[in-house]
C-alpha cells in the first residue's frame, strides 16, 4: 500500500515536472471524453430514454395505420379504446389525449390557443413534478369538475409573463372558464412541441364512431407483457373490426411501438448517430494523441526505468509505476472532461432547439454518466499506459544505462506504431472534414434552391374567419373580395393573391390521356388580380392563368404544375390536353389551360407533388385559406396596417399569423444548418487534435535527433535540405492518412447521404476542400519543427553530446 502511495506521489511529481505535456494530454483527453459524454447525454435524453417516467420501457403508443396510404393516424377509434380498457392483463394504464383548442378575445382579434384534452390519469403516467402548483387531482376531469387547466411553461411565460400568482386564477375563454392549477417544467411538451395547455376530460362514449381515429393513446403494458403480445391483441381487434364494420375499418390496422419512438424520427436518429460517430472519431484521435504523448514521455524515461531495474525493480513493479502515472493523467483528463461535458451539454441545448429535436426532460449529467466517465478515463489510462510501458520495460537495460537520453532512439517497431497512430488520426480527421464539407455543400445547395417564385417582400397569412358565419360560399367570396380590395389599396402593397392550400387534404386520383393514373393534389387559386400564383411570381411555363370566365364554366379548366404535366407525359404542348378526375360516378374531364412552375411553398427541400389549380370560389369550405401580399416596402413595416384592415373587416376573425416567406423558407433549413454547424465543430476539433498530434510526433522526433541534425549540418547540409527532409518525413504520414481517410469517407458517407440535400458522398469539391485544408494546416504544423531542426547549432550540440 505504501509503495502504491509512493507511486502516486511520484506520478504526481512527474506530471508536474512536465506541465506543458501534461496540460496537452489532459486537454486532449478532456475534449475526447467531454465531447462524447455530451453527445451521449443528448442521445440518451432524445433517443434512448426521453420519457420522464418510471419503467419507461413499459410505455407504448397505439395508433391506427391506413395501409392503403401508409399513413398513420393520430390514435385509435372509440370502440378500440373501449376494448383496450377491458384488457387489464395486457395494460395497467391507458392515457388518452386529443387535440383541443380554446379561444379568447385578444386586443384586436380572437386568439386561438392549442392544447390537449387528456384523460384525468394523464399526469400519473409521468414521473415529473409541475414547476408550479399541481396537476389534476382525483375526480378532476369528471363531468362538472372539468374546469381546470395545466399550462405549458412556454404559454405561462408568453401570456402570463411567468407570473407565479397565476395559480388559482380563473381564465375566461370563450368556450369555458378554466382555473389554472399548475404549470409544467419547460421541457415537458407531450404529445408535441409547442403545446400550450392540458385540460382533463373523459373521452366521449361513441360506440359506433369507427371512422374517428383522433384519440391519441399511450399505454403502460403490464410487467412481463411484450410488444409482440400487445401487437397480437391489436391485430385481432383490427381484424374483427374490419370484418364486422368493413366500411370504416377495411384497410386499417392498429400498431404498437415504444412510446419513446414518438420523439425520434428516422432523420433525428440518423443525425444523432452520425454526430455520435463524429465525436467517436474525435475520441479516437484524442486517444492516438495520448498514446503518442505517453510513448514519447516513456521513451524519455527509459534510462530512469533501466536504473530502477538495476536497483531491483521487477517488470511488473515498473509497469505498475508507469500505469499509475497514466491512470493519474487519465483521471485528471476525465475530470476536465466532466467540465467539457457540462459545457457541451449547455452548447448543444442552445444549438439544437426543442422544435428540431424534442425532448421531454432536461439534458443533464447523471451519476451513471459520471461513473462512465470515470471508467472511460481509467480504461484510457490503462490502455494507453500499458503499451508504452511494455515497450519501455522490454528494452535492453544495459544499453539504456550506457546512453544519454537524447541518444536513446526509439526502436523501429515503436516508431512504426507512432507513425501508424498519426496516419490513423489524419485519416479520421479527413473523414470528419469531408463530412463537414459535404454538409456545407448540402446546405449551400439547399439555400440556393429556386422555390419557383420570388420570396422577397412576400407575406403570407392563413385566415380563420368564424366559419359558422360563412357557410354561404358567396358570403365567403365577398369577404375575400373585400379583403383583397382593402389590402391592395394600402400604400406599399404591390399585389394581393388568394388561394387554398392542399395541406392535410387527401389526394385525388386522376387519369391521363393514355390511361395513366396519378394521385394529385388540388389547390384553390384566385383569378385575375386575386391570382396568388401571379402575386408570388410563379413562372407561367405555358398557356394562361385561370380567369373569371373559368369560374363555374361548363367546360372545366385547370392550371397544372410542371411536375403533373411530366407525370402524365403531356409532352411539349400540354395546353388543351384533357385529364380526368376519377370519381365514384365516373370520370370528370378537365382541360389543361396553363402550366406553372413547381412551387416549394413552405420548405426549400419540399418534395414536389403533382398539383392542379382551380378557382377558389369553386372549392367548398375546408381547405386552409391563405392570402399572399407582395410589398414594395419592407414587409415588416406593413404588417400593422394589414392587421388593422382585417380587424375592421371581420372583428371575429381569429388572430392572423403573418409569415414573412423569405424568413420562413430560410428557417426551413434550420435542421440542416444546425447539423452542419455540429459537423463543422466536430471537424474543427478533430482537425485541431490531429494537427497537434502531427506536430507533437515530429517535434519529438526532431528533438531526439538533434545530434543527427548537427552532424548533417557539420557535414555540409544546408538548412533547406534539413527542412525538406523533415517536411517530407511529416508529410509522408499525412498523405498516407489522407488516402486512407478518403477511402473511409467513401465507405462511411453512404450513412450520411440521406441527410444531404442533392449532394452525393462523392462530390469532389467538398472532398478536395477537406484535403487542401488538411494539407495546409498540417504543413504549418510540420514546418515549425522542421525550421527548428534547420536552426540546430552543430558546435553547441556536438559539444554538449
Amino acid at each position: 500500500m505504501h509503495s502504491l502511495w509512493q507511486d502516486i506521489r511520484y506520478g504526481c511529481r512527474m506530471l508536474a515536472k512536465d506541465p506543458g505535456v501534461t496540460a496537452v494530454a489532459m486537454l486532449t483527453l478532456a475534449i475526447g471524453i467531454g465531447a462524447n459524454m455530451a453527445i451521449l447525454s443528448f442521445v440518451r435524453a432524445v433517443l434512448l430514454d426521453p420519457l420522464p417516467a418510471r419503467h419507461a420501457d413499459q410505455l407504448v403508443q397505439i395508433r391506427a395505420l391506413d395501409k392503403s396510404s401508409g399513413q398513420y393516424r393520430m390514435g385509435v377509434n372509440p370502440p378500440t379504446l373501449d376494448e383496450l380498457h377491458q384488457r387489464d392483463e395486457i395494460f395497467s394504464e391507458l392515457v388518452v389525449f386529443e387535440n383541443h383548442s380554446v379561444t379568447y378575445q385578444g386586443e384586436l382579434f380572437q386568439e386561438r390557443v392549442w392544447g390537449n384534452k387528456v384523460s384525468p390519469n394523464f399526469f400519473d403516467m409521468w414521473d415529473i413534478a409541475p414547476q408550479l402548483g399541481r396537476t389534476f387531482a382525483a375526480g378532476e376531469g369528471q363531468p362538472g369538475k372539468d374546469n381546470v387547466i395545466v399550462l405549458s411553461h412556454a404559454y405561462w411565460k408568453s401570456r402570463f409573463g411567468g407570473r407565479t400568482s397565476v395559480i388559482g386564477e380563473t381564465i375566461q375563454f370563450n368556450e369555458a372558464d378554466l382555473t389554472v392549477v399548475g404549470v409544467m417544467p419547460p421541457d415537458f411538451q407531450f404529445p408535441y412541441n409547442g403545446l400550450n395547455y392540458w385540460i382533463a376530460g373523459e373521452y366521449p362514449v361513441l360506440p359506433d364512431a369507427y371512422g374517428y381515429r383522433d384519440f391519441g393513446l399511450a399505454a403502460r403494458m403490464q410487467p412481463g407483457v411484450t410488444l409482440a403480445q400487445t401487437q397480437a391483441l391489436l391485430d385481432a381487434i383490427a381484424a374483427r373490426h374490419a370484418q364486422d364494420h368493413p366500411i370504416d375499418n377495411k384497410g386499417f390496422s392498429i400498431t404498437v411501438r415504444p412510446l419513446r419512438m414518438m420523439f425520434s424520427t428516422e432523420q433525428i436518429q440518423k443525425t444523432l448517430l452520425s454526430l455520435m460517430v463524429a465525436v467517436g472519431f474525435i475520441l479516437l484521435i484524442a486517444c492516438a494523441n495520448l498514446a503518442n504523448l505517453l510513448f514519447a514521455r516513456t521513451e524519455n524515461r527509459k534510462r530512469e526505468l533501466a536504473v530502477r531495474s538495476a536497483l531491483g525493480a521487477g517488470t511488473l513493479r515498473l509497469l505498475r509505476q508507469l500505469l499509475t502515472q497514466s491512470i493519474l493523467l487519465a483521471i485528471l483528463g476525465g475530470s476536465c472532461g466532466l467540465l467539457v461535458t457540462y459545457w457541451g451539454i449547455e452548447a448543444l441545448t442552445i444549438l439544437i432547439p426543442q422544435n428540431i429535436m424534442p425532448r421531454l426532460k432536461p439534458i443533464e449529467m447523471d451519476f451513471g454518466l459520471l461513473g462512465l466517465t470515470l471508467v472511460l478515463s481509467i480504461a484510457a489510462g490503462i490502455g494507453f499506459g500499458l503499451v508504452p510501458a511494455w515497450f519501455a520495460c522490454r528494452g535492453d537495460i544495459g544499453n539504456s544505462l550506457k546512453q544519454t537520453v537524447s541518444a536513446v532512439s526509439p526502436d523501429r517497431m515503436r516508431r512504426r506504431l507512432s507513425d501508424a497512430l498519426v496516419v490513423s488520426q489524419v485519416a479520421l480527421a479527413v473523414v470528419l472534414l469531408s463530412g463537414a464539407g459535404l454538409m456545407i455543400s448540402s446546405v449551400v445547395k439547399l439555400l440556393k434552391v429556386d422555390p419557383g417564385y420570388d420570396p422577397t417582400n412576400l407575406v403570407r397569412t392563413f385566415l380563420t374567419p368564424p366559419w359558422d358565419d360563412y357557410q354561404d360560399l358567396a358570403k365567403k367570396d365577398f369577404l375575400l373580395q373585400q379583403l383583397h380590395e382593402r389590402w391592395s389599396s394600402l400604400p406599399g402593397v404591390d399585389s394581393v393573391g388568394i388561394g387554398t392550400s392542399y395541406g392535410g387534404q387527401k389526394p385525388e386520383l386522376w387519369a391521363g390521356p393514355d390511361g395513366t393514373t396519378v394521385e394529385v393534389r388540388k389547390a384553390g387559386c384566385g383569378v385575375g388580380d386575386e391570382n396568388f400564383l401571379r402575386t408570388m411570381g410563379a413562372r407561367l411555363v405555358a398557356g394562361r392563368y385561370l380567369g373569371t370566365s373559368d369560374i363555374g364554366a361548363q367546360r372545366k379548366t385547370i392550371v397544372i404544375n410542371e411536375f403533373m404535366a411530366r407525370r402524365f407525359q403531356l409532352g411539349q404542348d400540354p395546353i388543351g390536353k384533357i385529364l380526368a378526375r376519377v370519381t365514384d360516378q365516373g370520370p370528370v374531364n378537365y382541360e389543361v389551360v396553363g402550366v406553372v412552375g413547381d412551387l416549394r411553398d413552405y420548405v426549400l427541400n419540399q418534395e414536389i407533388e403533382p398539383v392542379y389549380y382551380r378557382p377558389y370560389q369553386e372549392i367548398p369550405l375546408g381547405p386552409p385559406l391563405f392570402v399572399v401580399v407582395r410589398t414594395a416596402v419592407k414587409t415588416r413595416s406593413i404588417l400593422t396596417s394589414l392587421r388593422n384592415e382585417l380587424k375592421d373587416l371581420e372583428p371575429a376573425m381569429n388572430a392572423p399569423v403573418f409569415e414573412i416567406v423569405e424568413i420562413s423558407l430560410y428557417n426551413s433549413t434550420g435542421s440542416h444548418r444546425i447539423y452542419m454547424k455540429c459537423m463543422i465543430l466536430s471537424a474543427a476539433v478533430g482537425l485541431g487534435l490531429a494537427v497537434l498530434g502531427i506536430y507533437g510526433v515530429l517535434a519529438y522526433s526532431v528533438a531526439r535527433r538533434t545530434k543527427e541534425m548537427a552532424i548533417r549540418i557539420a557535414l555540409g547540409a544546408l538548412p533547406s535540405n534539413i527542412i525538406r527532409n523533415t517536411v517530407w518525413e511529416g508529410l509522408r504520414t499525412v498523405l498516407l492518412g489522407i488516402a486512407l481517410g478518403l477511402l473511409g469517407t467513401f465507405w462511411l458517407s453512404r450513412f450520411i447521404e440521406s441527410l444531404l440535400f442533392e449532394t452525393t458522398a462523392h462530390d469532389p469539391m467538398p472532398l478536395a476542400g477537406a484535403v487542401v485544408l488538411l494539407i495546409g494546416v498540417a504543413t504549418i504544423a510540420i514546418w515549425i519543427p522542421a525550421r527548428r531542426a534547420a536552426k540546430t547549432d552543430p558546435i553547441v550540440t556536438l559539444r554538449y553530446e
Partner: protein, 232 residues
C-alpha cells in the same frame, strides 16, 4: 563466490555474428576487490552487466553462491540480484526527480521492507556517508562527487555482498575519485566483494586483482601485492 565458465555473448548483425565476450572463465572469491581493465569495446561493461544480471542474453555457466544463474528464470534472477548485488554507475544515474533521501529509499522499496524499517535504514546510511545535510536536495543541486557518493550509498543501502561499479570515477575529478575509491576500500574491508571497471591504473591499484580483457577475450590476470597496492 562467483564462478564463470565459458561465458560468451554475441550480437547477430547483417555482417554476421559479432562476439562481445569469448569463453570467459573466471573464479572470484568472497571479499575480493577485483578491477576489470581493457581498451574500449573489450567487453568490460558487458561482463559487469552479466555479473549484475542486467543482461540475460548470453551463453555459458555462471554460479553465484552455488546458485546456477544460467538456469534461473528471470524472476529468480531478480530475487538473487536483490539479495546480493549493488550497482554503481559511471554517470551516477540518480533519479532526477527524487531527493537524496528518496533516491536512497528506491532500492529498499523494491525489497518488501516495512516503511519504518526503511526510514531507519535510509537515515542510518545518510549518517554513515555523511550526507544527512543533503537529504532533501535533488541530484541537480549536488556536485559530481556528492552525486556519486549518493550513488554508492544507494548501491550499498540494501547490504549487498557484491558491489559492481562501472567506471565509478569516470566522471569525477581526481580528489573526488580518490574519495570514492577510499570508500570502496573501506566497504571491501568491511566484507563487501567489489568488482569495478576502470581505465585508471591508479584506481585499479586499490583492488587485489586486475582482470584484463581484450576484444572480448580474457587477456590475463594480475594479482597485486600489498606493496604494489600501497605504491598505487
Amino acid at each position: 563466490m562467483i564462478q564463470l565458465k565459458n561465458i560468451e555473448k554475441c550480437y547477430e548483425t547483417r555482417a554476421g555474428r559479432t562476439y562481445v565476450l569469448r569463453q570467459i572463465t573466471l573464479d572470484i572469491e568472497e571479499g575480493e576487490f577485483i578491477t576489470v581493465m581493457g581498451p574500449s569495446a573489450a567487453g568490460k561493461t558487458t561482463l559487469l552487466n552479466i555479473l549484475g544480471m542486467l543482461d540475460s542474453d548470453w551463453t555459458g555457466e555462471y554460479h553465484l553462491f552455488d546458485q546456477a544463474v544460467h538456469t534461473l528464470k528471470p524472476k529468480q534472477r531478480l530475487a538473487l540480484n536483490k539479495q546480493h548485488i549493488g550497482f554503481v554507475f559511471q554517470n551516477f544515474n540518480l533519479l532526477d526527480t527524487l531527493t537524496v533521501y528518496e533516491n536512497l529509499d528506491v532500492p529498499l522499496s523494491y525489497r518488501n521492507i516495512k516503511a519504518s524499517e526503511r526510514a531507519a535504514m535510509v537515515c542510518d546510511t545518510l549518517d554513515r556517508f555523511g550526507i544527512v545535510g543533503k537529504k532533501d536536495l535533488f541530484p541537480s543541486q549536488l556536485s559530481g562527487g556528492q552525486q556519486q557518493l549518493v550513488g554508492v550509498a544507494r548501491a550499498v543501502i540494501a547490504g549487498p555482498t557484491l558491489l559492481l561499479a562501472d567506471e565509478p570515477t569516470g566522471n569525477l575529478h581526481s580528489s573526488q575519485g580518490e574519495a570514492i575509491m577510499d570508500l570502496f576500500k573501506k566497504l571491501n574491508r568491511e566484507g563487501t566483494t567489489i568488482i569495478q571497471v576502470t581505465h585508471s591504473e591508479r584506481y585499479a591499484s586499490y583492488g587485489k586483482r586486475i582482470i584484463k580483457l581484450a576484444d572480448g577475450w580474457l587477456d590475463g590476470e594480475i594479482c597485486l601485492t600489498e606493496t604494489a597496492r600501497k605504491d598505487g
